[in-house]
Amino acid sequence: MDLKGKSAIVTGGSRGIGRAICLKLAKLGADVAINYYPGLKEEAEELKKEIEKIGSRGYPIEADISKMDEAKKLIEQAVATMGKVDILVNNAGITRDSLILRMSEDDWESVLAVNLKGVFNCSQAVAKYMVKERKGVIINISSVVGLRGNIGQANYAASKAGVIGFTKSLAKELGSRGIRVNAVAPGFIETGMTQGFPQEYREKILKQIPLGRFGLPKDVASLVAFLASDEASYITGEVISVNGGIIL
């Protein structure tokens, strides 16, 4: 499996799962545009260096993808810099956990803005380009929480379930143009997002994971790389879980 000669954009690429995806795609030979949220420039620049050590090229691009104009600029800039885009990984995501009775309107809106509208923004911009090219791959990072719900995460769950409906619709709309669209639904992965969990809660989750551990970002990255590659050329509209067998 390799991605030589391919160009990819990874949103939220400077940290966590996104970072692992950037590294994996680069290892397989792809050029990678590392999108990062304003304020995370250092992480992105450091990742660029790491990617260069592997022998690929990394291009940090700042953008708040929840804003349509910034998302458009991100795609334009990536195409201009790399000459083309073959792969978009919609990975950027945030949490604002709270029980429904306490959830503020802002908690709801900000999570939906990044996790769902951000996916729309970037996908629309890249689709205009990919439709002309008659090829392309879009991979959206959903979540086990989008499939099964989770206490304290009604906003996050709604956004991640939304991503699944969006993925399937795009797969249908764009399939005739050689564009594949899939979603990946990670379980609990060791990242900044999950490291803040109280020990008690971690142990409770661990008991529900047959493989007995939290996932690593690279576990998700391997699946994304496979879906991005030509090895997956007949897979579209799918939601593939990578969760250690978690039973919620």
Partner: protein
């Protein structure tokens, strides 16, 4: 009908729908004669918007079914 606009439209339609230019007649229907699907139509409208620097709303786009209708519409918009 403005022949220069027609010639430009003909080129765009030919490229977008992968049909020979001489197949593109003024009364050609995009869907029935030139084999366009719904995504082709959207792409075509976007290409026309870009070429002539105009905006075509979804309602307006629905009224454009033939090459001639596209030319007429663009002519009106550009006045």
């Amino acid at each position: 009908m403005d022949e220069r606009i027609f010639e430009k439209v003909k080129k765009i339609v030919s490229t977008q729908l992968s049909v020979a230019e001489d197949e593109v007649k003024k009364d050609s229907s995009f869907v029935d004669d030139l084999g366009a699907d719904s995504l082709d139509l959207v792409e075509l409208i976007m290409a026309l918007e870009e070429e002539f620097a105009i905006q075509i709303s979804d309602e307006e786009a629905q009224g454009i079914r033939t090459v001639g209708e596209a030319v007429d519409f663009i002519e009106q918009k550009m006045v």
